[in-house]
């Protein structure tokens, strides 16, 4: 009987539209993921799209998405009979309860499982599609599909089906069941974020019901090669997790039976009556109020209807649940948005960062509220079979539509206000009492209120034209898909992306800037469109028993007269007027460009011009500039003269001059040369000299450029409004505003897929390490060292900043002009800034340190100054003297998040550092780390710069990391540095798995951040530990002595390695090979440790460890290498890294020779250790750094 019920249920389910819709959606999602290079699920760089790893991961993630669908299947099977009123008939049959319930479940679950096969089929079919980039598709692995379906997705499918079947059985309500689904997913998400700490991961891998952690732990350090060939082994935590998942599901099913009752009480709404009062006297009919239908009555109807509709929303528990979930979700987001970066840092909860957090975590719930209640309100009268009564009342037609729009809008604004209260509460709880209610209103409530209302209008319109509520929600689903799919496929114009509004980046320095203007034009445009939609909705409104859409259309057209007609006309006028104005801005005054246009342009640029890369060029030896910043226009005009010198040793016939794409070149001339060829599209010009430029000869290059923007542009994914020149916080670099001599590779396409798509070689490699020709120029281009003389004019209330010593500063009327002159050569790459700054300064050992910050951002200025002082001490005593008379940290608006090091000037985003919160002294001091890193670049880039070949960034970034770590160690001791390095190790190991091309050894790094920063830190720190800090610094000093401020030949990573080898003893030469020339990975494990009291009262301690070393190639394929080196072994009374750990907890610590394989090390100690470990501070690059310490028994 059970199976007959199941079979019946299954047949019923697979015939229903839900089944086909869900199957189609999941098929299309994964099929699209395979077939399109625009849709990505998970992390797919350089891993085949159909790699076993990708297939397993996609199944896993889709399994979680599928929870909603699975719930619809299984919950429908148990609730359907109640909803259709068929329940009593079924219940009256002699069917046994378990047969009935579990039969239903089995049938529905089978349908869900079959539907989920759409995922597997989509992945399979997508990979078979002809015309795919063959490099992205690997060999077929049918076992991977089976494994993924049954092991990765299957248990989650079963678990979610079973649990929500039980919930549906208990609640008998689809709404409550979905509330439970959403709540579970939210709780899961919050818990995953809260608990997702490295030391909890082994635990989570076992008990995470969705298996995401189990999969992550099993595969986290997989290389591209592993991902392309391996499936996670079904053992250990993964096996345990899958079994746990199934048992949990079975337990939920067990609970479903007792929950199920045939006699469900329907009447939950009855309320107790009030105390009785005597009825009022009967009125004779003649005395009864007569209706009237004047304006006042109509207004009263509007207010009453709106209030009534809002009441319906506010009284519905679903609203409060969604609101609560939204608040719960945004609470997590609001609480964690102040986490700063990878290293456990934190920033203050300023309003500016809380608003984006709310927008990303809360407004999605408002969208759900808008869509859901649009459906509920439009269909309520019909759903409740109240429509005949209501429709027959003399209320005018518009009182049906307008109050619903108003009430949804007001409800949405109310929810936004609630979320603002939550944000302010977070600010209060975090001890940040600088509330900005005005900013919340202008930056958040108002714009989002309008945007959500626009969305609600679409939702209402969709419900009016749709034949039922579900189809109406389908309209919203289509809208959401379109909003993602269209821009991803090159359709990015805000004029047809419904509700699209220019983004408004927020900044404490610059507020909304001028960016709100475009956004509000967009809102006007879409509001007018919505007025048309609502007019149509009014005309098509179902009043009475009306027919299908065609007959309603005919009736609607007949009704298009009078007020609706004039509203339509006015809306159409506003729509076309604002649309025309927006079009003029986004297509005429500013170029309309999509991301694909930009990619194609970049590809064409490379095809046309990269061949000039090696054409010998003169260098800029000095630059005299006059820059006028007019923030209100906004415009920045640069006039100047370069002195060019031929340092090539041969006559030069031409000079190549290029400009940033956005830059308007007003004048350009080269002394004794004429523009032979101009590439207008690429802002690139080739000048031919009338008479060749002789070696050593100098000539001038004069120019005038203008960087400006008229009004606003179509600001979407990549193209965005000009953020460099703004009312307060102008920040541009020299490449954006000045001529660049010679062609280089900056800003070329790097994504391998895109490069192939546009017919370029998949990767553009720099010259190989050791190449001789490329030592003639640095990785910043042709000209390297030059002197500058920069005059900046800016509004009088702003402070301008440029490299060099400030020699004059004059205020003339409303303008302020300052001149900056360098007396030491600087790189031809610098920044110009201007803002209303407060300045913190200190003079230390003859150097002036400044922090230019927003008046509200004084929190860390002193910390920055102190970091500069400590850094100056370390770098001057260990490397060489600082070359400038001042160093300036300069804040810029949060339109970008980075810190950079120009000559003596370190622009630093207000989103980092300036608002860092150090009330907890245990936090890693990232402000000092960043300041020390950027300051170190004054040596490692601004004194010594690498040649344009592999390994160039080792000389700048790796050495800056090393320098900053030494400063950190000096300030905070080794413990904080070790915590820092643990983050570096984890980041490195994870990133190498996602490597897009090839992992290279450190000395050959090709601008790969995870290598030159993360691995660089680990390598240099270990090297200093092994050969001594002083030996490393001696090597660095020798490099500076040879190469500082020198031109060609520029140094390479080989010079660094040679200098280090020269300072290292013979037994460390192999180590240097491992660190710099190979990709070396260790696997160190402390297996067990025992201590035993001896007769003399001391303790015999035996620690069994295992050690393995591997060399990896660029694709991650490993070969074992014999290990024969010394590694730190430690005995402790606390676990290293725990809060109670300190140097007093160390019983024994020192290097012991370690070879490959298992071995037991013996110690005699006077105190019994409780923990023992091999490389306990994680200085080696250990693939599993969490098993290095064991408890001593």
């Amino acid at each position: 009987m059970l199976f007959r019920v199941a079979a019946f249920e299954f047949r019923h389910q697979v015939r229903a539209p839900l089944f086909w819709a869900v199957t189609a959606i999941f098929f299309l999602l994964t099929f699209g993921f395979m077939a399109s290079d625009q849709i990505h699920i998970g992390d797919t760089a350089n891993v085949h799209k159909n790699a076993p790893f990708s297939i397993a991961q996609t199944h896993l993630i889709m399994g979680v998405f599928f929870i909603f669908a699975a719930t619809a299947f299984v919950a429908g099977s148990v609730i359907r009979d109640d909803e259709t009123g068929f329940g009593p008939i079924v219940h009256a049959t002699p069917l046994a309860k378990p047969d009935y319930i579990y039969g239903r479940f089995l049938g529905a679950f089978a349908a869900a499982a079959l539907s989920f096969a759409g995922v597997s089929i989509g992945l399979l079919a997508g990979a078979l599609l002809p015309g795919l980039d063959p490099d992205t598709i690997g060999p077929f692995r049918f076992d991977a599909y089976g494994f993924s379906y049954f092991v990765m997705a299957g248990p989650v499918l079963f678990l979610s089906s079973a649990v929500f079947f039980a919930v549906a059985t208990a609640t008998r309500s689809m709404a409550w069941t979905f509330v439970a689904v959403v709540a579970s997913v939210m709780i899961y998400a919050v818990a995953a974020v809260a608990l997702g700490k490295p030391d909890l991961e082994p635990l989570l891998a076992r008990w995470d019901p969705f298996g995401l952690f189990a999969f992550d732990v099993a595969t986290r350090y997989w290389t591209a090669d592993d991902r392309n060939t391996l499936l996670p082994a079904l053992r250990g935590a993964l096996l345990f997790n899958r079994l746990f998942c199934m048992s949990l599901g079975a337990a939920a099913l067990g609970l479903a039976l007792p929950f199920y009752r045939y006699d469900k009480s329907l009447d939950r709404g009855a309320r107790r009556g009030p105390p009785r009062s005597s009825p009022p006297p009967l009125l004779s009919p003649a005395l009864r109020a007569r209706p009237n239908f004047d304006r006042r009555a109509a207004f009263g109807q509007l207010v009453a209807r709106t209030g009534f509709d809002m009441g319906q929303v506010f009284r519905s528990p679903v609203f409060w649940i969604i609101l609560g979930l939204g608040l719960a979700n945004s609470a997590g987001s609001l609480w964690t948005v102040t986490d700063d970066g990878r290293y456990g840092g934190a920033v203050f909860p300023v309003t500016r960062i809380l608003i984006p957090a709310l927008e990303s975590s809360f407004t999605i719930f408002s969208v759900v509220i808008a869509a859901y209640y649009a459906g509920e309100l439009v269909w309520r009268d019909r759903d409740r079979r109240m429509h005949e009564v209501i429709d027959a009342t003399p209320a005018p037609d518009w009182t049906f539509l307008v109050p619903k729009v108003l009430s949804v809008s007001l409800v949405l604004i109310a929810t936004l206000l609630v979320s603002v209260a939550a944000a302010m509460l977070v600010q209060a709880l975090k001890g940040w009492p600088h509330f900005q209610p005005g900013e919340y209103m202008l930056w958040y409530v108002l714009p989002n209120g309008v945007d959500l209302t626009i969305l609600a209008c679409l939702a209402i319109f969709g419900q009016v034209i749709a034949p039922n509520k579900f189809a109406g929600w389908g309209v919203m689903a289509l809208y959401i898909i379109a909003r993602f799919a269209l821009p991803a496929n090159g359709l990015e114009d805000g004029l047809y992306l419904f509700g699209a509004v220019n983004p408004v980046p927020l900044s404490d320095m610059n507020g909304q800037g001028r960016f709100w203007i475009g956004a509000w034009w967009d809102r006007l445009y879409w509001s007018a469109f919505c007025a048309l939609l609502l007019t149509a909705a009014y005309l098509l409104w179902r009043r009475g028993v009306s027919g299908g859409l065609p007959s309603r259309l005919a009736r609607g057209l007949r009704r298009l007269k009078g007020t609706p007609f004039w509203i339509a006309v006015a809306s159409a006028l506003v729509l076309s007027g604002s649309g025309g104005f927006i079009y003029h801005n986004t297509h005429v005054w500013n170029a309309y460009r999509t991301r694909q246009d930009d990619d194609r342009w970049t590809a064409d640029y490379e095809k046309a011009l990269l061949r000039y890369e090696t054409v010998p060029q003169p260098v800029v030896v000095s630059a005299k500039l006059s820059v006028v910043i007019e923030p209100d226009r906004p415009r920045l005009v640069a006039r100047g003269v370069y002195v060019l010198e031929n340092d090539t040793g041969a006559p030069l016939r031409e000079v190549h001059v290029r400009f940033d794409r956005e830059l308007d070149v007003r004048a350009l001339s080269v002394q004794g040369a004429w523009a032979r060829k101009t590439y207008d599209r690429f802002n690139y010009r080739i000048f031919s000299f009338d008479s060749p430029m002789a070696p050593g000869e100098r000539r001038s290059l004069s120019f005038e450029t203008s960087l400006s923007e008229r009004s606003f542009r179509n600001s979407r994914l990549t193209t965005r409004d000009l953020t460099g020149v703004v009312a307060n916080g102008t920040f541009v670099n020299s490449f954006q505003i000045l001529p660049i001599v010679g062609m280089t590779r900056d800003r070329l396409l790097t994504d391998r897929g895109k490069r192939r798509k546009y017919g370029l070689p998949a990767a553009l490699h720099p010259p190989l390490l050791g190449d001789v020709a490329s030592r003639s120029w640095s990785y910043l281009g042709h000209g390297t060292w030059s002197l500058s003389d920069i005059t900046i004019t800016t509004p009088a209330d702003q402070t301008p900043v440029a490299p060099g010593h400030q020699v004059s500063d004059v205020v003339h009327g409303v303008w302020r002009t300052a001149r900056f002159v360098t007396d030491r050569p600087i790189l031809q790459f610098f920044s110009i800034q201007s803002a209303r700054y407060s300045i913190a300064r200190v003079r230390y050992k003859g150097v002036d340190f400044f922090v230019y910050h927003d008046p509200a951002h004084a929190m860390n200025a002193q910390r920055m100054l102190r970091a500069l002082e400590v850094s100056l001490d370390y770098y001057q005593s260990n490397f060489s003297p600082y070359q400038f008379r001042e160093a300036r940290i300069t804040e810029f608006p949060d339109y970008d998040q980075f810190a950079q090091s120009f000559a003596g000037v370190f622009p630093w985003s207000e989103g980092l550092g300036f608002i860092a919160d150090y009330r907890d002294p245990n936090r890693i001091d990232l402000v000092t780390y960043v300041a020390a890193h950027e300051f170190a670049h004054q040596w490692w880039a601004h004194q010594l710069i690498g040649a344009e070949q592999q390994g160039a960034t080792v000389l700048s970034e790796t050495l800056a990391q090393y320098s900053a770590l030494r400063v950190m160690r000096r300030l905070y001791g080794p413990d904080q540095v070790r915590r820092f390095l643990k983050y570096e190790l984890d980041t490195y190991l994870r990133a190498r798995g996602g490597e897009a091309a090839e992992e290279l050894p450190l000395e050959k790094v090709e601008d790969q951040g995870y290598i030159h920063y993360r691995k660089g830190s680990l390598v240099m720190y270990r090297l200093a530990d092994e050969i001594g800090e002083e030996a490393v610094n001696r090597a660095l000093r020798s490099l500076l002595a040879r190469f500082a401020f020198k031109t060609a030949p520029y140094p390479t990573a080989l010079d660094l390695v040679a200098a280090l080898r020269a300072q290292a003893p013979p037994d460390k030469q192999a180590l240097i090979t491992d660190l710099f020339e190979k990709i070396t990975l260790y696997d160190l494990t402390a297996k067990q440790a025992r201590s035993k009291r001896r007769a003399d009262g001391r303790f015999d301690v035996a620690v069994t460890v295992s050690a393995h070393k591997h060399y990896a190639n660029g694709a991650g394929v490993e070969t074992p290498a014999p290990m024969n080196e010394t590694v730190n072994i430690g005995l402790f009374t606390a676990r290293p890294g725990d809060t109670d750990f300190s140097s007093r907890r160390v019983i024994a610590f020192g290097k012991r020779p370690i070879r490959s394989g298992d071995q037991t090390l013996r110690f005699v100690t006077s105190i019994a250790p409780t923990f023992a470990g091999i490389d306990p501070y994680n200085e080696l690059i250990d693939r599993n750094a969490d098993d290095n310490v064991v408890v001593v028994h």
Binding site: R276, P279, R288, P291, R305, E388, V389, P394
Partner: protein, 297 residues
Amino acid sequence: MLIIEALSHTYDEGVKALDEVSLTIPKGMYGLLGPNGAGKSTLMRIVATLQTPTAGFVRFGDIDVLANPQALRRTLGYLPQDFGVYPRVSAMEMLDHLAVLKGIAGRRERKATVEGLLSQVNLWEHRSKSLAGFSGGMRQRFGIAQALIGAPSLIIVDEPTAGLDPEERNRFLNLLAEIGENVVVLLSTHIVEDVSDLCPSMAIICDGRIVGQGAPATMIEALAGRIWMKRVDKAELYALRASHQVISSRMFAGRTVVHVLADADPGPGFTQATGDLEDVYFSTLSQAPRPSHARAA
């Protein structure tokens, strides 16, 4: 005076629900009697402005209902055959809300109207109770209360007594009788007693056509002496149906009581019966062409 002329309606899917219906309905209670699916509800909805007929004409007083539905709504009270309730709304709130929609703008006069109506329909005690918890009879009384808001001059009541127990039905019909004095009350029902108890005039509708109309008493009189009754066994019934014009049969004390329409004694065992409205109804229906599968609308 409500005048319906040559009203026809065919649904999108081709079902002909009304076929050239013409009626003239005076002040007072007017019964529209017909089996399920006869087209009663369609007719009621058209008059209540909820549906546009395929052809025909409806006039109420000076109002051309089809051309100017809004004007009719201002003087209409409508109790549909089937109506639900909003969740979490009390009778008082709902009635107040409907009063707003019906144009009772002033807060004070609305309160008076709502309270007066609640007490008139005997729901005063239950005014704060959620409508969802109302019994069927209470719900119908609430329905009549809302139909009375704004003192309408046309009241349409569609199948109001279906599903009510006898006591509730009585109470409800009394309520209707009270209000039906000065206005047009159009009552549709398939229960003969509703009409016989209340209505001075009536029409019988079957298959979308009016098959009989007049005052109940006149119509009963027309049948005088032509109704014959017999108690039979079940087996006999079948044969009887073939040989006689059986207008109704119902069970009484375990046997079947058959009414037959005949001008003379139809045979042994038959006794003459006093005709009542039910006999009128069933004889009218049985004389009408046999229904195809007309559908309720």
